[in-house]
Assembly symmetry: C2
Homo-oligomer: 455 residues x 2
């Protein structure tokens, strides 16, 4: 296994320059003007995988962005690992808060800065470099491996489920391996065993047929922005508990063991508040911050807009107002059911003075993986080898909806070995990825591939 | 007086082409990128007035946009009228809802379409053409006239009060004449005797120091957009009554006579709703639509924004969220006091999880003019001559804050003879002005100038 480490060491500069090429594509999947960039990124990725020696490399068309597939299957008796990642990225606004161009990667303080470095191009790339490392150091690949990289994760993975369902034979595997999560803390490699699901919805309140002069009409018609504010104000009580009837019905309560384990983790609420610049935390009464993040559902306004938002004053009653709202779900909530509950409740409390449009944008169910499997044990071992410390099992507040699809369609539970750090600023300006975790990650994953062939 | 009518008839095309030149300046006072356009418009206006024979024409600098002044004082014993108007205009967004370029005026269906046609360039121009008409038909001007045209009305008239206070000698007059209001209905010339005031404020709710991933942080920190919605939801009760303590304390109640007169006006609530595309009206219980528009204060959200507002999904907790809020005031509310009450209340109900910034943008007190004066009686007569029907006295829901300044500093009450129509779409896309009211307005004002010299 020293050969693995040496190979990575010798190829540091090359790996980094390849990653930089990969990061330069502005593959923002939720913006239609970047459609070609997403495609170009997919093609680059496919060519790169091919150049490493992977076989059956394909760029599959979908109704949205392409899916890149590749495989290397030369050990009939060894297990098959399906590696999933996504090459698309979040939008970059507000652009003026970035210290460098989000698509001109720069290395600084042993980190690489660009949109997608941590979420998820950098983490995806770890697997390709681990594959290359193993193949080039031992001359063959000890297990069977399949790669599936999608281009729509940040836009709701709208065509991935269908692709997996239609290609379940191609994707057949014993386990799914994903690096799209982060460590609990610096120096604390973490394996994630549960993810929250998501239900994302856009709501539009429509009033008058045009913006009205608030002098001439103020006081006589209902104001869509005010109705929207009213509706939002009725989604939670003042203690942060969601007030949509039935919302908590299927929530799987935390076990005593889980609560104890979470409480043991090195979490400092004061530092947490400082790092994000808030005076205090806020949320559902009776649960700790980690419990609320990992194992309790939430509802968040992601964006709100209506009327005049430019410089200075424009005294109007806006014709309409909108909000983007996401709900994070926990086992055993079901995204579709939650979206229905949400819509029914909004329609019930909306006043008759306006029209309401509710547009579900996407949903993904929460997921939970058993931790007493060979996949989990070997993962722990690989991380211990690469980073020299005992990894922890954690949950994660974010969503990777495809995990639930893999479980359902392929019968394979995902092993979530992420290499992100809490300071990576994913989804925010100045996203970055630790180079120690990038190269250490390659080492860990290469070792994992080797370990999985041991019985 | 037939000579007046003839002169206007003979110069229709010329007057119109001059008005078009005036409208072409995108003099949007609230947008800093149009600073030069506002100045160019002021210069054009000054040159035009000079060309008509007015004297002492000046473009006065202010810390904001220029003020154009001119006068014609040749009858020591005649009364002096101060004509006020504004040459700046509202912003034009949403631009895609305009059927033609807002600064390329077009004539269609006997109306002229462009930003500022009705509010207020077209109405301002009526006075210049009336001045020209009288001067050119009778060879002299029978009363004394002063013109003051400002360029910041749509941005809060921030420097006008100071100018009036510092130039009270220059502006000395017996009455103030303003055309910046509209007729109650088609074919119903109207004189306005009361205007609402305004208090405009921007409020910003600040949470985390950056946008946070709603997966990783959802459920643990307060969401500025939700706090903003909560604050807004507590500004009115469900019956449309404002809940800010003390807000109604100084409101002058309507007299029985006023309520009866309002009830006699041809107002059709069904048509009203249809014209603005709402299912029903909404507002303070116990008052009619006209009473609410003209004589009751209101509070309106003019704009709301925060977080991700682009296409598709971006799952963040926004770092901050803002709203622009205007309150329309009635006699005897005082803008400054209302702003104080607003700020105090918001700070009182804001949760400790966020920081609140409250920025008062501008304020103007409400105004009311006695209707039993010579100025009002002659105004009625002039309108009767020009339009052949009996005018009505009305109020107006909008604000012309300078009216209160004229009353306070010059001791002269404003006579508000507006020529707008309810279909003018002021402050909205496709603003327009009736050519019948434009030319009829010139005739009415020319007659008013002539009548004011009769004892």
């Amino acid at each position: 296994m020293n050969k693995v480490k040496d190979y990575i060491e010798q190829n540091r500069e090359l790996f980094l320059s390849q990653l930089i090429d990969f990061l330069k594509f502005p593959s923002i999947s939720s913006r239609s003007e970047h459609k070609e960039d997403v495609r170009n990124c997919a093609n680059w990725l496919a060519n790169h995988i091919k150049s490493l020696g992977a076989e059956n490399v394909n760029v599959f068309e979908t109704e949205g962005h392409p899916i890149v597939y590749a495989e290397y299957l030369h050990n009939e008796n060894a297990p098959t690992v399906l590696v999933y990642g996504h090459y698309d990225v979040q939008p970059v606004d507000p652009l003026d808060l970035w210290n460098s161009n989000p698509f001109e990667p720069i290395v600084k303080d042993n980190k690489i800065f660009a949109r997608g470095t941590s979420d998820d191009k950098g983490q995806l790339f770890i697997h390709l470099k681990a594959f290359e490392t193993v193949l080039n150091t031992i001359g063959t690949f000890p297990i069977n491996i399949k790669f599936i990289f999608e281009g729509e994760e940040e836009a709701g993975s709208n065509h991935l489920d269908e692709f997996i369902e239609q290609n379940s034979k191609l994707l057949e595997c014993d386990t799914v391996l994903i690096s799209d999560t982060e460590w609990f803390d610096f120096g604390l490699p973490s394996i994630c065993y549960a993810l929250r699901g998501i239900a994302f919805v856009e709501i539009k309140v429509k009033g008058p047929n045009r913006d009205l002069h608030s002098g001439s009409y103020g006081g006589t018609v209902d104001n869509p922005a005010e109705v929207l504010a009213y509706l939002i104000s009725r989604l939670k009580d003042r203690y942060g508990r969601i007030t949509i009837p039935g919302f908590y019905d299927k929530v799987l309560e935390l076990t005593t063991e889980e609560r104890e384990e979470f409480a043991r983790l090195p979490f400092n609420e004061k530092n947490y508040c400082q790092s994000i610049g808030v005076k205090q935390t806020y949320g559902e009464n009776g649960f700790s911050v980690l419990e609320r993040t990992w194992a309790r559902p939430t509802l968040e306004i992601n964006g709100i807009y209506g009327g005049y938002t430019g410089e200075g004053a424009k005294t109007i009653i806006p014709s309409e107002a909108s909000a983007k709202i996401s709900m994070r779900l926990v086992p055993n909530q079901v995204a579709k059911e939650i979206l229905d509950l949400f819509s029914r409740y909004i329609r019930e409390i909306a006043p008759p003075t306006v029209d309401i449009e509710i547009k579900p944008l996407h949903g993904g169910n929460p997921v939970m993986t058993p931790i007493d499997t060979i996949w989990m044990r070997k993962a722990k071992e690989a991380l211990r080898i690469a980073f020299g410390v005992e990894p922890v099992f954690i949950r994660e507040g974010g969503s990777i909806p495809v995990c639930e699809t893999f479980q359902r369609v392929l019968g394979a539970s995902p092993v979530l070995i992420g290499f992100g750090l809490p300071t990576d600023n994913i989804h925010s300006p100045n996203e970055n990825f630790s180079l120690d975790n990038f190269f250490g990650g390659i080492n860990a994953i290469a070792n994992y591939y080797l370990l999985l062939n041991e019985k």
